[in-house]
Every structure is written in C-alpha cells, then in structure tokens.
C-alpha cells in the first residue's frame, strides 16, 4: 500500500490543526488535506512538447463559532502559516452572520470499506516515464498513419496520485488514496477552408482499464473524419438523437438543476417539483458514490458524510435533490453525500440505460439530427433553457446521410425530459456524469 507512513503523518497533521483550532476558541473545526503527484506529457508530431512532473500539497479549513462560518485554504503548509490562518478564521467568523443551517455534519464513523471501492492502482505509481511518453507517441503515430488526417493537436498521457485526508472536531478522521490516468489525442482533417477537428480521451482509475493507443487513435480519427464536407441545414424543428457524449452534457445540466444549493437559491426551475413527474417513465437518474473503481466514487464527501446511492429521478418522478449538509438543512432533508467545498458535486450521476441499441434508434428514425458535439455555453438552470453551437450527422430514412455544422440546438429541459422517445443500452461510463444514446422528439435546430 502506497504512502502508509505519509498518510498517517498527514492524518496526524490534520488532527493537530483541528485541536489547535479548538484551542483558539472555535466551536467546530474541519481540516482537509490533499497531497498529490502529477505527471503530464504532451507529444506532437512525434516529439515531446511539454513534460510536467510535480508533487504538491494543499490544506483547506473551516471554523464555526457561534454558528458563524469562516474558511481558509493554503498551499503553504508550514505550521506557522496554517496556525495564522486558523487564528484569523476564528476572529473573522465573528464578522459573518449567525446562520442556523451552518455547522459540521453529525459525527459518522467512517464505515466504508475503502479497498473494495478500488480507487487506487499501485501500477500507476510504478510506471516509468519512458513508457508513458511512448504511449502518447504511439497513439499519435497510429492516428497520423491515416493520410486523411492533416494535422495534430498532439497526444497526451496524464497520471495523478492523490491522498485525501479529512479530520473534524466532531470526531471524524478519514483518508483515502486515489489514482487517475488518461490517454488522449486531438486531430484535424481537411484544408484551411474546410478544416474539421475532434479528439478522444480515455480516462480511468486503473492503468489496466486504459484504452489502448489503437483504440484511442481509432476513435479520434473516426470522429474527426466523419465531419468532413459538412452541410449547413435549414432552420427547423426536428427530432434530435444525442450520442452518449452529448447525453453527458445534458446530464451535467440536469445535475445543476437538481443540486440542493440551486434549489434553496431558487436558481433552478425544478425547485418546487419534488415528488412530481418531471420526465417520461423511461427516465431514471441515479447518483452513486460507491461503484467500485469508477471515477466519481469516493468513500466520503468533502465534509466526511459517507457516500451512498441516491435515486434522483425514478421513472420520471423527481425523488431527491442532491445535498451536502448545509443545503440539506436548508431543504430539511439529510445530506446525500454530495458536498464539495462550498457547493455540491455529482458522484457517479447517470441516466439508466434502456433496451434499444443506438443502431436500432437510428434505423427507426425517418429524419433527425444526430448530435455529436457542441461548443459554447448557453445553459440556464434557472429557466431550464439551453442553446448551444452544434455539430452532427443528418439522419434520413434510418441512415446517416451527411455531416452538419454551424447550427445550434435549443430548447428547454422541462419539455425535453418528457419527450425522450428512446433510451439506448449503450451507457458510456468513461466520465462520472454519463448516459446512453437518447432520442428527443423535437428541438429547434437553427441553421441557414
């Protein structure tokens, strides 16, 4: 097991600062520490462009006195600096307002069996730099072997190892180690007047699960080339099929709308819809922080509440908002283990898959835009409105006809969730927020 000694000394440090905070007069104290190692190599046209290697530490703290909160963070972990920040925070807390919803979560024994969560891969720590560089070079080389690819944004291999420690004055002390690694490549095809680009990234916790250079390069090449020689289509209302990468952003938008923080701020159109049907019966959305080996899994959230599985939307009915303990108190519901700093974050937040294959969904469609990529912002959780730049493939008579570019898709999440006509079986779990292919009855596609 990596860094057992280190992890223990970080735990001791965190507990020491909690005690110091109490001795300065704080009613409650929370200390979190992150120690990380980063390796990042970019290669382009066969040569190394950048190679970054570093280790770093950071500390964040929260103190509460008379139900008034102050926070601090630092990358300078000398005892002198941290103590000064704690003393300042205790003093500064007096300047905040009394807030009856403030405070640490009730003490929870760290009950999670960490090894079974499988967040750490010792192989990543032992990979040598040459092998990592070779993987990136190999990926780019395979992609550039295709003569239709005209330029490269480069390929990169990134690996991270982190130790996370959390201690608080309610008696919580927990820590875990985690790893990530990723392999990606970005490509261009076409000439100056018809340039297209795309990329592919494989990101995993365990090196053995990383897609091979052949797979990463192959997907990036395929995604880039399929966009060549696009047409701009007329403005129209039309069914839109979302590829899994696109369902990913839609789910990210839905998360922003079911966040307990957005709910108490009235910054989501779903704030008053708990227990109501917000989508069709084919919509079930689950947040689960305990799926072994997944990117969004963790034993406990940023304030030490054990992670769990929460059914957010069940057959179209909105069942639960995702909360840390602060938003939870505001909404009078328990924390769901989604606290992250001052807000909430998804653990593994996904739309449950249906039965149809993506091929079946396309084949059963007379006319639609198959959405493959979006750019820009244009998401408004307050209203549910969205409007984004889009790329896609035109579907005609159940088949892909030609690529489409320079259009926008726009609509509102509320009718959209009721108009999901098909949910695919191809749940793509590469990212913590994810979903399968879906088909929407109708959206506005603006073009020529």
């Amino acid at each position: 097991m990596r860094g057992r000694v280190q992890e223990n000394s970080l735990q001791e440090m965190a507990v020491g600062f909690v005690d110091f905070g109490r001795s300065c007069g704080a009613d409650e104290v929370e200390i979190s520490l992150v120690e990380g190692r980063e390796f990042n190599v970019n290669v382009r046209l066969g040569e190394i462009e950048n190679l970054v290697e570093a280790a770093s530490r950071s500390l964040a703290l929260r103190v509460i006195k008379d139900r008034k909160t102050a926070q601090a963070s630092t990358s300078d972990l000398t005892a002198e600096t941290v103590r000064r920040l704690i003393r300042n925070a205790v003093k500064r807390a007096q300047l905040a307002s009394r807030d009856d919803c403030s405070g640490l979560p009730p003490a929870a024994a760290e009950r999670m069996d960490k090894p079974s969560l499988n967040l750490y891969d010792p192989e990543i720590a032992s990979l040598d730099a040459t092998r990592k560089i070779k993987l990136a070079q190999e990926t780019e080389r395979i992609a550039l072997d295709d003569t239709r690819i005209t330029n490269s944004h480069g390929a990169s291999f990134i690996s991270n190892e982190d130790t996370i420690v959390l201690a608080n004055s309610a008696g919580f002390l927990g820590s875990y180690d985690q790893t990530f690694c990723s392999l990606s490549v970005g490509l261009q095809a076409g000439g100056t007047n018809d340039l297209v680009e795309d990329e592919w990234t494989s990101v995993v916790r365990h090196f053995r699960d990383l897609e091979t250079p052949e797979t990463v390069a192959g997907k990036a090449v395929e995604r880039t080339l399929r966009q060549l020689h696009p047409r701009k289509i007329k403005t129209q209302s039309v069914p839109v099929i979302f590829e899994p990468e696109m369902t990913h952003w839609l789910l990210g938008f839905l998360f922003a709308c079911v966040s307990g923080v957005a709910v108490y701020r009235k910054a989501t159109f779903l704030a008053e819809r708990l227990g109501m049907a917000i989508g069709g019966k084919n919509i079930t959305v689950i947040d689960d922080g305990l799926i072994p080996g997944r990117l969004g899994s963790r034993p406990f959230d940023s304030e030490g509440v054990p992670c769990r599985k929460t059914i957010v939307v069940e057959n179209g009915i909105l069942r639960r908002f995702l909360c840390g303990s602060y938003a939870g108190r505001k909404l009078k519901q328990p924390s769901t283990g989604n606290a992250e700093g001052n807000g909430v974050s998804p653990n593994n937040f996904s739309l449950s898959p249906g039965a149809a294959t993506p091929e079946e969904i396309i084949a059963s469609t007379k006319k639609a835009l198959l959405l493959t990529r979006t750019i820009g912002h244009g998401l408004n959780p307050v209203t549910g409105d969205f409007s984004r730049g889009a790329y896609g493939l035109w579907v005609e008579g159940g088949e892909i006809a030609y690529p489409v570019c320079e259009v926008t898709v726009s609509g509102n999440l509320e009718p959209l969730l009721h108009q999901i006509e098909a949910v695919g079986n191809d749940l793509d779990i590469r990212t913590p927020v994810c979903g399968p292919t879906i088909k929407i009855g109708e959206l506005t596609v603006a073009g020529a």
Partner: protein, 471 residues
C-alpha cells in the same frame, strides 16, 4: 519589504545555482517563477453574510526549454533541497550535458502606471469590504418587489511574482485584483429569470466610489432579471445581428483573439497560420490587444515570462498584422515578443494569451446602424463563448432585443450565436464610433488555465449570422 524574498529566501547566488542545475542536462533556457498570492472572499446570500474566506498560494515553478521541448516542475515545499529536485526534474527534458554560463542578472522594469490602486483592498479591513457587499445586496433587493433571491460575492487578491531566467533577466510584479459580482433571481407567475452584473479590475476600493458603485452593480443585476421576465424567445435562423457596444467584445475574443495566439499558428492548427499580412475581414475592422490599459482586469506591467508587454495591433483595417506571442513561439517563428506569455499560477507553463482585446472605434453613428436593420437582433449582454482552431465559434447572449423596422422592440431571452471566423469578419458591415468595454469580471480558459481578461467594441453590424433561438 518584498514578500517574495521573505517567503523564498532565494538570493541572487542561489537563483544562479538553481538555474545552472536546471541547465545541467543541456537545456538552452531556464527560468524560475516564484509566486505568493493572498486572496480574500465574502459571500452574502439569503440576507446574511454567509461566510468569509482567506487563501494563500505560495510556490515556485521551474521551466527548461530545449529546442521545442519544455520541461516543467513545481513545488510548494520551499526548502533548498526541494527546489533543487524541482530544477533537476525540469532539466531532464534535455539530454546533452553542456555546461551553462549564466550572465549577470539585470532587472526588467515594468510600467508603473498599470495598477493605480489608491486604497489597496488587501490592506483594507474586512468590515469595509463587507459594507460594500451589503450595499450591492440592498440595491439589488430594491430593484423591484419581484426580486426573489440575491447573491453577492466579493473577491480581492494580491499576487506577488518574481522571475529570474538564464538570459540574465529578473522581473517582479505586484498585481492587485478586485471583483464584486451580484446575481439576482426574479419571479413572476411561477417563472424565474436570472440577472448578473459586476465590476472590479486591478484597482483599489476607491473604484467603488469613483467608477462603479456597489449600488449600480446591485441595481443592474436586479433590473436585468426583471427585464428578462418580460422577454420573448429569441428567433432562430440567419439574420442581421447588431452588437451593442461593450460586452459584445466577447465576439472578437472568440472569433479573432484565440485564433491569433501564436502557439496555434506555429503549429498550423489555427486557420490564421498563413494569413499574416493578408486580408481576412472587412476594411472597417481594426483590433488591438492591450495589456497596458491602466486599471483593467487583463493588464500587467510585465508578463509571466518577465517581458514588458506592448499594445499589439492584431487586425489593421481587415489585414492580419501580428500574433500574440510568448517566448517559445516568438523564438520558433522568428517574430518579436509582444509580452503575452501568461500563466494561471506557478503550477502552469506560460502560453500565449489575450489581455484586453477590443475592436477600435469606427465612424458610424450607432443610431443610424440600428435604423439600417429591417428585422434582426440587438445583442446586449453575454455569458461567454468558445472557438475551435477551425474557426467555428459561438457566443451566448443572456439579454438583448428584437430589431424591427430599425427600432428596438421586445426584449429577448438567451440564445447562442454560431459562425465561422473569417466568414463573419467579412460580414462586418458597420462599425460605430462608440467604443466601450464590457464588465471587469471576465475570465478566459485555455488548456485548463484561467486568466483574467476584458474585451470591448463599439456598435457593430454583422450582415448575417445564425441565431440559435427557438422561434
């Protein structure tokens, strides 16, 4: 007192030792970037001062360049031993082994008029800043009875940075930054809308008395939310678009600025790589990037590589005149430095970035520009955009109006606009005489690094552009 020297206790002799180690494997260039940043924030929501915070960021990054390769290491452990290890990590990018001879250090002097902070926020009491937050909050509440929720955030920071590199230059900078933003949610008949406003820059707290009061920020956020309650869906399809002066500068940030960053051009991934000296847009269009505008959020007196920045002419009456350069790209391309090498913090490699980007004033009367449009949209407030090297770009409007028969009519809701850079630059039909800058609150992201920027423009008419509304 120099906080950097206090924190690092690296004298000139030690810096030379570290640079020599960084070059011990044969790199051609080495640099130490040290940073000490103090940061404060105040959050008011639900009618209370919910929390305050304080942050310290301290660390150092060492960069070694060998040919076109960059090695980088960083640390926040500031023992000489850890810095030595960091230097050797960065050094490993090179593999010859020639011994470096380091020249004497000479200090680069940056301009001294960039940060005219009379009342520096990092030295002001927290009480005085809380008072500003409360003023903005109260003004937003007062904007109307339909204002349902208000949130005000105040940030201030001071960044001390110091650079020493193997060509014998040292540079230091001490950069203040403040930002007060207000968001409002208004509600009518169960429908809610969102408004935003803010201000700040590399200024002191006097800004909130002289330039933009907290009351103005709060009121604007509230009024925007109230206006949107009455807004109709934006139209969908191609139509004339008039950009209001100020905020619409985000269009040139996306459609031109990023594509003229030198790294994308030396790699030939940007559609502009072969366009230097060539016409890409309307002769009415002149664009500058100017890091030396006093008080502006995107300004600095030296860049993050120690280069004094210059106001850079990017597009001169439709013709590409220069790229935004950092040290590596300028050397590879054989072009002069422009002082646009920026980094988010000590953990990041500097890359070419924008600072304050704007379209220069033209000659047209803004009223007359509006009158020239039969049916189209007037784009007023923006929430950002994105561009790809292929030239495809978007920007999203958060508020605007319909134009009918040359006049502003109904307010419209948010919509994203999409176009292709050179195509849209050629469709710029009119440029007004009313140059303004957008809010001093913007942040630009590139390759995972966030840096503060601003943009600006006069009233501009684009003859046709795709508007992603719903009607």
């Amino acid at each position: 007192m120099n906080p950097i020297e206090d924190s690092f206790s690296l004298g000139s002799g030690e810096r030379k030792k570290i640079l020599a180690l960084a070059l011990s494997r044969g790199g051609e260039f080495a640099e130490i970037f040290s940073e000490y940043r103090l940061y404060n924030f105040i959050n008011m929501e639900e009618d209370i001062i919910k929390e305050t915070g304080e942050s310290v960021s301290l660390g150092l990054g060492i960069r070694v360049i060998s040919g076109e390769k960059t090695g980088y290491g960083y640390t926040n452990d500031l023992s000489f031993e850890a810095i030595r290890t960091t230097a050797l990590t960065a050094a490993a990018i090179a593999d010859s082994g020639r011994t470096a001879v380091l020249p004497r250090f000479r200090r680069v002097r940056g301009r001294r008029d960039i940060y005219p902070a009379l009342w520096p926020a990092h030295r002001a009491s927290l009480e005085s800043k809380i008072a500003l937050v409360r003023r903005a909050y109260a003004a937003c509440r007062k904007a109307g009875s339909r204002i349902r929720k208000v949130k005000v955030l105040f940030h201030d920071q001071i960044q001390y940075m110091s650079i020493a590199h193997s060509e014998g230059r040292t540079a230091e900078d001490e950069r203040p930054q403040i930002r007060l933003v207000c968001t409002a949610i208004a509600e009518k008949n169960g429908k809610r809308e969102f408004g935003f406003s803010g201000g700040g820059g590399r200024v002191g707290l006097e800004y909130f008395e002289r330039t933009m009061t907290p009351e103005a920020i709060g009121r604007e956020a509230g009024e925007e939310a109230l206006r949107l309650l009455e807004a109709v869906d934006a139209p969908a399809g191609e139509m004339p678009v008039v950009l209001a002066p100020g905020h619409a500068g985000v269009l040139v940030h996306e459609a031109v600025g990023h594509l003229l960053e030198a790294d994308f051009n030396r790699k030939r991934t940007s559609i502009f790589w072969d366009k230097l000296g060539r016409r890409v847009g309307s002769p009415l269009l002149t664009i500058y990037d100017d890091p030396t505008r006093p008080s502006f959020r995107g300004s600095y007196s030296v860049d993050d590589e120690g280069t004094p920045p210059v106001k850079t002419l990017l597009i001169d009456r439709g013709i590409v005149r220069s790229f935004l350069q950092d040290r590596l790209s300028a050397r590879i391309m054989g072009l002069p430095l422009t002082g646009h090498g920026r980094r988010q913090d000590f953990t990041c490699i500097p890359i070419p970035r924008m600072s304050n980007t704007y379209v220069d004033r033209g000659e047209d009367d803004p009223e007359e520009i509006l009158r020239s449009v039969g049916k189209g949209i007037y784009a007023e407030r923006f929430e950002g955009g994105q561009v790809e090297d292929t030239g495809k770009f978007t920007f999203s409007i958060s508020a605007g109006h319909l134009i009918e028969e040359g006049r502003l009519t109904a307010p419209i809701k948010q919509a994203t606009l999409i176009g292709t850079s050179i195509d849209i630059l050629q469709k710029i039909e009119r440029v007004g005489c009313d140059l303004q800058f957008g809010l001093q609150t913007g942040t630009c992201s590139k390759e995972g690094q966030d840096v503060p920027v601003t943009d600006g423009c006069p009233t501009i008419k684009i003859s046709r552009m795709t508007v992603g509304g719903r009607k």
